[in-house]
Amino acid sequence: MYNNNFRNDYYNYVNNNYNKPLYTEDSNPNNLYDPYQGFIRGNLFPNLYNNYKVNAIDLKPLNEQAKMLTMLDSLNFAVIDINLYLDIYPEDKDMLKLFNQYRNEGNKVLSEYEKKFGPINLNSSANENYPFMWINSPWPWEGGQ
């Protein structure tokens, strides 16, 4: 027997959780999470946020380097998430502006970080140092930060 109730429940569940309304051109980017709040959620768009088991877990950077990396990660994340949005809505001026704001802020933090703690990109000016700093541990997967 086909169970209509189950089907309705299922569609309500799916629609409420995963089929949130599409963004429109006039959606207000001020409604986005700030880069850090978005980063710890893995999602900059509050109306798409849907958590499971845990709420957003605050990062607890243990030292100056980890603190600065968290800032860099947050800004880079905001750029990644808005990038995917702009791929589909390239004419959204407000979002483009926000993309470039976070991109610029991220670049500033990046060059400051590389100056203090070593290169993240091969083309960093930190690679002018002798001996070649690129090879220095820790590599990203090694953790312990």
């Binding site: 995963y18 958590n51 845990v54 877990i57 995917l84 791929d87």
Partner: protein
Amino acid sequence: MWKYEKKLEYPINIRKKDLKMAKYLMAQYGGPDSELSACLTYLNQRYSMPDDKGKALLTDIGTEEMAHLEMIAAMIYQLTNNSSINEIKEAGMGGYFTKHDNSLFLSDPEGIPYTTSYISSTGDFITDLESDMAGEQRARATYEHLMDLTNDPDVLGPLSFLREREIIHYQRFKELRNYYLENKIQKNS
């Protein structure tokens, strides 16, 4: 081309060894709905997208999946680092150890090696996007199962992050698919 950034998309700093959890995480490293499958699928399908929006989205999501694969690898690495033979045996990873020692290998939790039969491309961009939406949903469900299997906040943080990315990717694929359907975008041949 691609350039390496010497950092993760989201930090992995796991303090407690957990070989069993590492084994389960292999599902997202070399399993059917793994980050590797997502990465290879999108970077392969982008060549048959009909317009610039599609070429951009598949390239950018495919690139992000590569960073997710690296996060999964980092988690497995840290969960198993410096483990003893006894710990390996107790976690049921003796078979894996026999073949690979402590090295990373692209297989699922049962040791089944990765195969490209896990990925697809049909040349029909609507079909491909709908398949990608389903893939994101399967990966999201897998992350929920993985989150059910641990209570370590060092592991739950990154898993929760990765799960949420599946939701965003699903949404963007769906928006692109709907845009193609509503605007009757045709295959350019």
